[in-house]
């Protein structure tokens, strides 16, 4: 697989343990005290979206559901709130993955923005429909920042798959 479909560079196959590790690290990153800072992105949503686009056979709605439950319990939110948003995120990301991967990275980020924003809006709607208070506009800044982080996140998460460029003097190819 290539970094994008238009790229000529071939990547190594992904290691399954790295996918799981990155998802768990993103979950732990969401538990950091920095999560209270305004405009902090939802790391788990970002990584989940990334892997559902790139490796839709491995990461999908099952992971989204389980990790969503973990987030609900850790946040003290209503059970199923994060799960609902993450499942929709994983589904749309998977079904759009063929299209998104054709674009260069900056345009990929633009395509991911509505997905991340929608997952945040869904959570807000679910909670406000059941009597929660309005969390403030800062709550919707997180996805914008996460969009800006799409390019560094792509490089970071694909790093183990880049193989060294091996030039042989004696062979033209």
């Amino acid at each position: 697989m290539q970094p994008t479909f238009t790229s000529s560079r071939i990547l190594l196959p992904v290691r399954p343990w790295f996918v799981v590790l990155s998802l768990l690290l993103a979950l732990a990153a969401n538990f950091l005290p920095t999560a209270h800072w305004p405009g902090m992105p939802d790391w788990l949503a970002l990584v989940l979206c990334f892997w559902s686009i790139r490796e839709s056979r491995r990461v999908g709605m099952g992971w989204a559901f389980v990790l969503g439950l973990a987030m609900d319990v850790a946040d003290g939110a209503v059970l199923g709130q994060h799960g609902f948003a993450y499942i929709l995120l994983a589904y749309t990301a998977t079904s759009l993955s063929r299209r998104i991967l054709w674009f260069p990275l900056a345009q990929q980020a633009l395509q991911v923005l509505p997905l991340l924003l929608a997952s945040q809006v869904i959570q807000a709607l679910l909670r406000m429909a059941t009597g929660g208070e309005f969390p403030g506009w800062g709550y919707f800044v997180g996805p914008l920042i996460a969009t800006l982080l799409w390019i560094p996140a792509t490089f970071l998460l694909l790093l183990p798959q880049y193989q060294p460029v091996d030039r042989d003097e004696n062979r033209p190819l």
Partner: protein, 300 residues
Amino acid sequence: MAGIDHAPPPFFKRGPAPLALLTFYLAISLALFVVDLRVRSLDLFRQSIALVVDPVQRVAQTPGSLVDHAVAYLEGLQAMREENSQLKRQQLDTAPNLLRLEHLVSENTRLRQLLAVKEREKVDGQVASILYTARDPFSRRIVVDKGQQSGLLAGQPAIDEAGVVGQVTRVFPFSAEVTLITDKDQAVPVQLVRTGQRSVVFGLGNGQLELRYIPANADVQEGDLLVTSGLDGIYLPGFPVARVLSIQRDNAYAFARILCAPLAGVENFGEVMVLNPRPARPAPPPEPTPVAGKAKKRGR
């Protein structure tokens, strides 16, 4: 050897269709959501997930607390000394009252016995330190470091040195969740100290409280102190809750709009005291049966 298998070999093994999976998972999530909100019968499920998530969460909290410790260490002896002397002064300030308290309590019990009034309930509880604020931006809760292990129960009130902080709403094996009085769903029955009027104070969700169901012409002034009335059977009477900030009287409404500020350091970090639950109260007297003649409508 087994015979030829008639089913085609699973070259391309695929699960259910994505749309079917999506419907399935969404249905489960929605069911969980509704059951958790309306029936609240998923506490055991939540506790078992918490057993797995809690260690990760504590590990994630360590860098922050390490920084806090480092800052506290570097702040040094001087600040500590100042604080210490300040605390000593404070203790001296309160000493006269505290020393007389025991005397007053015994006197009060004696007088109450003379008047044949029920004795006041004793205050008892355990100190818990705040671990972190719950990340949920739709509510105001904190998580404290004591749980089922220390015998906490949902419903116990939590106070700090200045007043009521909130109420324990969920209990996990090693931690508990305290909903602050400023949460939008939280209500505390209170009493105005100056006039003795009873009412209920509600959280607004923005760090303030609102005193509701007070008539527009009632005697309420800015700066009035609200204490728990104890009528609910949960909070002991007499704990400070809030101070009246502003009063808007609008003739269009029957009730005044009264905003209050909480007295306790509700949004601060530190330690809280979780009070033991009050003993069960006697059952309320039965409702009087309506008399048939009185139910008639008034004549025109």
